[in-house]
Subunit: 259 residues, 2 copies
Amino acid sequence: MSDSAPTLPSEDAGSTPLYQQVKDYVRRSILTGDWPVDHRIPSESELVRLSGASRMTVHRALRELKDDGWLRRVQGQGTFVADRRTRLDLLEIRNIADVIRDRGTYGCEVVLHERSLPTADIAQELETEPGAHQFHSRLVHRLDGAPFQLEDRWVNPAAAPDYLGVDLTRQTPNEYLMRAAPLSEVEHRLEAVLPGPVEQELLGIDRHQPCLLLHRRTWSGGRVASRAWLTHPGDRFYLATRFAHDAGLPRSPKPEDMP
Amino acid sequence: MSDSAPTLPSEDAGSTPLYQQVKDYVRRSILTGDWPVDHRIPSESELVRLSGASRMTVHRALRELKDDGWLRRVQGQGTFVADRRTRLDLLEIRNIADVIRDRGTYGCEVVLHERSLPTADIAQELETEPGAHQFHSRLVHRLDGAPFQLEDRWVNPAAAPDYLGVDLTRQTPNEYLMRAAPLSEVEHRLEAVLPGPVEQELLGIDRHQPCLLLHRRTWSGGRVASRAWLTHPGDRFYLATRFAHDAGLPRSPKPEDMP
DNA sequence: GACGGTAAGTTATATATACAAGTTTAAGGC
DNA sequence: GCCTTAAACTTGTATATATAACTTACCGTC
């Protein structure tokens, strides 16, 4: 920490804790794709050199990222970018194109992509003025040609002013928004619904096919950035997760020690 | 650490890390009800005295429990048992009776509670011999008299041998199993379905009412303890979560520093 | 009594150090 | 060539220490 202390990112480095800055650096490197899955990231001692923090601080940052599923660490070998595909799609904000490409070939049809006046309900969800125009898009994501997900999205122009200029056949809304308006908060709601006739037509399903509706709102910089309705035919899609309580509770309860 | 080092629980104290033992002690105290919600637990320095570990080790244990939602810590005041009711029902394994009591009065109807021969599918899910009998129960949980959730559950007798003796009107299956077979692992699956006629009858819904089906398997001590199908009419139930990425990603991307 | 300052107690962060345990690599001996 | 051994490097745990920030309680002064 003598001469070339390689000061960390972000101008507010004074306020945010050091371990947090290291976490942010690693996460950003993963999200931008610089460090792909299974890539071996710098070792603790290297990060100590790069960041100027102590090993314990770097270690804490990496351990927390491991606990959150970003990294995979193995003693004696190193630290690697974890494969997050098996984790809950629901909470992950995964790019739908990636999800589909894991299972087959991806296709996409842009039904709608315009500036439009939202209903009062949607304005309220976006936390914007009722009379203000917003961006509205509607896509059908396809797996091997068959409809897989219907995405109906409203975007706050204050958060992503260039949204209408994006070619949604080359970049999914999620993909674009993740870069344009890095998310700070997410809200999910999940329902079982029977879609309306228009949605049934777009998804190519019959009248009584139940669907999973995932309602998602994302925040960026204190504002609602986007509100999406993601509809999946119920018989083709499911969400799965499986986790282990760390070591769980002790098998043989001995309640005596430690008063 | 001189004279009366108050050694920690569990005979295998030699193998499990110290911070884990402290975590287990705190978690056990919460789960047994010794420390109710909002109870102020011993301070770090007290736990140092009780456990014999250093403050950093105790601090790590408490910090991780906080991150996992077990504790609430406020600087200058102390550490308190957190109220977990607001967290995601899905991943929480919340007791359905508590969920319902948050919204009204709870009722319960035991449709079925017996020893029975499972189908091949269910035996496979339970990871038991195809010809072996298992415990089977089926309940309708009611909110203000109206059906709220249909619970169809198979229980592995090896994990909970006394299951048939439990009065399910006084204790929900989940409530009992949480104590009888402390869980070590959980698997969830979520679908949108149209229930069969029997289930429609029990839930009091019409033929085309879509439902959320939550499929849950729990492990205890290396075995599958239980497999439950939890069906909710789609228009009355939703799952919600909202979380903040800790400090999120930096607002102004400055990719230059830290090569 | 009201106000302000101080002290004690609490959690949060950060560092330096040490040892343990696992893996890989390289050197050496046969 | 092949095996063994040692060294170097990695992550995991544990401790001691220091500082900061925050809260509550107490005491003195006005």
